[in-house]
């Protein structure tokens, strides 16, 4: 039997309930997915608006939480940066659901390859065993691995807006209004919690503003800034009007890869020339794109992972400059706050597996880029009326993040509004203005949520 049309919708319904589909349907689905993916280039072109997601790792219930927080497919345009499988208990359901959605809505969801989408890694980190357990044979694992070989290596997002239209949502607890930019400021970064409440908001060039026009850069002191009139006005006014065309086309493209850069790749065109339809090699450009990590070093360094490389700020800035990029978005590394901007916001890590491995206690994030249009492409969406997700946002990181920018502290921390380094780096450092970035941060779904089967996970500790 073939999987298409209503069959596909039935499979989606079944997978959304976290129930695997029969082996013959998996075979059919994987065949169709390959037909689709083979047409994609190594670097897929994606138009903003798009929501960029990091590692999922088989945490199916958290993937459902991600869709609740970010909006459902096809209403929201998604880009997943790989590592769908391994570690969690529901790699199969998670990957097959994403694949079904890809086949059903090919223009609304982009999947690129992570280092775990590999035969070798999945035999060590759980996906192979999971397939064997759920189907009694390795056939389904084999079908999935054949799809892995066809996944694109990266994506290039174009048409992203440089500024955000401020969300008119309520403020999250402990959010300090006084740190908010003025109403007519251009919003560069906004972070929302899983209930759509605003945790903080940054204006573009906020550090120069605060040093030039504000003696009261201390966030604790009272501020002359009016308390966020943008929130009270109609959505779409405020910041967007200030853009008045001047910076509309200034943002470069955003390159999305799972891991990072490669010493063998200095232009995006070189990625396009790779022969990707194979198992991830142990070395070489394709391996590096899936395995490398940014690090506080100069140039290139050896990776403790045993594959890929470490690369420093200079490498990122040169690459972005040469390729007319404003930002690199990547995944691959656990970050406790869900996302981490580095190197003057030239690269960001997005991590979408909350409480990773049921042990790490981290929150997850997704990154929304708006469309470069009159209202920055941002349409306030309904997140549904569920109050789920725990709501217990970790307050410490909210406050900490807000302050680090205001204090002009560590330029590597989230926010990255400290641009002092750019003067040191001259032309290259200046680069393109980054896109407006809206991060939605969420916690792990409650284990018994939505009546789906959930095995109580046991995390190992040294006892």
């Amino acid at each position: 039997m073939s999987i298409g049309g209503s069959d596909l919708d039935r499979a989606i319904t079944q997978l959304r309930a976290c129930r695997p589909i029969p082996e013959n349907q998996v075979r059919e689905l994987c065949y169709k997915a390959r037909e689709l993916l083979i047409e994609e280039g190594n670097v897929v072109g994606v138009d903003a608006p798009v929501t960029i997601c990091g590692d999922i790792h088989g945490q199916f219930h958290d993937l459902m939480e991600l869709f609740r927080v970010g909006g459902d497919v096809p209403d929201t345009n998604y880009l997943f940066m790989g590592d769908f499988v391994d570690r969690g208990f529901y790699s199969l359901e998670s990957f097959l659901l994403l694949l079904c959605l890809k086949v059903r809505y090919p223009d609304r969801i982009t999947l690129i390859r992570g280092n775990h989408e590999s035969r070798q890694i999945t035999t060590v980190y759980g996906f192979y065993d999971e397939c064997l357990r759920k189907y009694g044979s390795a056939n389904v694992w084999r079908y999935c691995c054949e799809v892995f070989d066809y996944l694109a290596l990266g994506a290039l997002v174009t048409g992203a807006a440089t500024s955000l239209s401020p969300t008119d949502g309520p403020l999250a607890d402990n959010t300090n209004i006084e740190n908010f930019p003025e109403a007519d400021a251009e919003i560069e970064i906004e972070t929302l919690n899983s209930n759509g409440e605003i945790m903080y908001r940054y204006a573009r060039n906020s550090d120069s503003q605060s040093s030039a026009s504000q003696a009261t850069s201390n966030p604790a002191s009272s501020s002359p800034i009016a308390p966020t009139p943008s929130r009270t006005g109609p959505a779409g006014t405020g910041a967007t009007s200030s853009a008045n065309g001047s910076s509309r086309n200034d943002t470069g493209a955003i390159l999305c890869v799972h891991g990072g850069l490669s010493p063998l790749i200095d232009t995006i065109d070189k990625i396009r020339l790779l022969d990707r339809k194979q198992e991830v090699p142990h070395e070489g450009a394709m391996c590096d794109l899936l395995w490398s990590d940014p690090d506080e070093i100069d140039g290139w360094g050896l990776s403790p992972r045993g594959a890929g490389f470490l690369f420093g700020a200079d490498i990122v800035k040169c690459f972005n400059h040469k390729n007319d990029l404003s930002l690199i978005a990547r995944a691959h590394q656990l970050v406790m706050e869900g996302f981490k901007e580095m190197f003057d916001s030239t690269i960001v890590t997005v991590w979408s597996a909350p409480n990773y491995c049921y042990r790490c206690g981290n929150v997850a994030a997704i990154l929304e880029l708006g469309e470069d249009g009159s209202n920055a492409g941002y349409v306030r969406r309904s997140n549904g009326d569920q109050g789920g997700g725990g709501g217990g946002w970790i307050l410490g990181s909210n406050v900490g993040i807000g302050n680090s920018g205001a204090n002009g502290g560590n330029s590597n921390t989230v926010g990255g509004v400290n641009r002092r380094l750019s003067s040191v780096l001259g032309d290259i450092g200046k680069g393109r203005e980054g896109p407006g970035r809206r991060y939605r941060v969420f916690e792990a779904a409650p284990q018994d949520s939505r009546g789906m089967p959930a095995k109580k996970p046991v995390a190992d500790y040294f006892l």
């Binding site: 060590v124 045993g306 042990r359 206690g361 500790y461």
Partner: protein, 376 residues
């Protein structure tokens, strides 16, 4: 030890490593007071902790992280291989304690020495040390609940590889033990069936239980590898106090090595305590000594007045393990969980402190060059 000696068990939630029932034959030597519903649950949960330790050890051995020919005789059953970060963590924990012990035994090697392992469980260290230091004049003591020592004795009887090492001369086979024996004594190896909490009752009126062959004159290294952590802080303190003030009095050099989790208050630590609570495991001393500097203070407060040091296991991996060895370990398994591993390693520490009368003392010399971590 009679159950009547155990004071108010209800206040002592959290057992010595392994708990009264970690082995078979739960409850021998324990009063009914400890067996309320919650307590029984706790017993079962803590029983599983040594299963974990033994299976982690076996996994690390089978994959080549650790060289330990004895692990297979003492692990209850072979289990599937563990993830790479568990194998690494097991390697670091074992290697760290081994290193401190090795330096102790290698300092004035002709001098007789004594080692006390608290809540030893299925630990294989004694047998490995006999191989690594064949000429050491070592008196080794393991303390654990009767149910556990009985299990270990059975393994000693069953496997000649263990059996042949328990005394200086080849012992009779089978060991001449009375039926139902839970303790074993020889000039080199001693298995004491004892509830650690009974040491905490020490006073002039109730002396601590006798520990045969424990020599009050020998430099003594005590270690607790995830053992005291299951006790209430006041009980843990009293147990160590019994050694310092009753069994091994000054000026005999004495030291303590602790391997315990730290940092319960950050996101990872909160998840750790909550996940373990779901397994009915509580770690009372973790809350009492949450940081490295708390652990150092703790050792000083116990009476290890000369020096107390501490380092988390990430630091230990980085600073104590030779580059060559790191490369060997890295080649064993592909590790794609670097951030998680580092976080896990940062949440466990080794703390060590001693009382030996100053710079010429055996511990001062043995551990002079062992670097600790700043701050914390």
């Amino acid at each position: 030890m009679a159950s009547s000696e155990i004071p108010n068990l209800r206040t002592l939630l959290g057992h010595g490593r392994g708990g009264p029932s970690r082995g078979r034959g739960r409850g021998s030597g324990h009063g009914g007071a400890s067996h309320g519903g919650g307590e029984a649950l706790n017993d079962q949960a803590v029983q599983k902790t040594d299963d974990d330790a033994a299976s982690f050890r076996l996994s690390s051995v089978e994959l080549g992280y650790l060289d330990d020919p004895y692990a297979k005789y003492l692990a209850a059953q072979s289990r599937p291989r563990r993830p790479p970060l568990i194998n690494r963590g097991t390697y670091v924990r074992t290697t760290a304690i081994d290193l401190l012990i090795h330096k102790f035994l290698s300092t004035s090697p002709e001098q007789p020495k004594q080692i006390v392992s608290l809540g030893a469980g299925t630990d294989t260290r004694y047998f490995r040390l006999r191989d690594a230091h064949p000429n050491a004049q070592l008196v080794y003591h393991e303390l654990d609940f009767p149910a556990n020592t009985m299990t270990k004795l059975a393994a000693l009887q069953k496997h000649p590889q263990l059996h042949s090492k328990v005394s200086p001369q080849p012992p009779p086979n089978p060991l001449s033990l009375t039926p139902g024996a839970t303790s074993f004594h020889s000039p080199t190896y001693n298995l004491h069936a004892v509830d650690l909490r009974s040491l905490a009752t020490t006073s002039k009126a109730t002396p601590p239980p006798p520990l045969p062959n424990l020599d009050p004159s020998l430099p003594t290294l005590i270690f607790s590898e995830m053992c005291l952590v299951y006790l209430q802080p006041s009980i843990a303190s009293a147990v160590i106090s019994a050694f310092l003030t009753t069994y091994i009095t000054a000026p005999t050099p004495i030291s303590l090595i602790l391997y315990e989790p730290i940092l319960p208050h950050d996101a990872f630590g909160r998840m750790m305590t909550s996940n373990l609570a779901h397994r009915n495991i509580s770690l009372p001393t973790l809350m009492e000594y949450p940081t490295l500097s708390d652990q150092r203070k703790r050792l000083r407060s116990y009476g290890f007045c000369d020096v107390s040091r501490a380092a988390d296991t990430e630091f230990i991996w980085r600073e104590w393990v030779a580059e060559e060895e790191k490369e060997r370990i890295a080649a064993l398994e592909m590790l794609d969980e670097q951030e998680e591993l580092n976080m896990l390693l940062r949440h466990y520490c080794v703390a060590w402190g001693w009382r030996d009368g100053g710079a010429e003392g055996v511990f001062s010399r043995a551990w002079e060059g062992v670097v600790e971590m700043d701050g914390g």
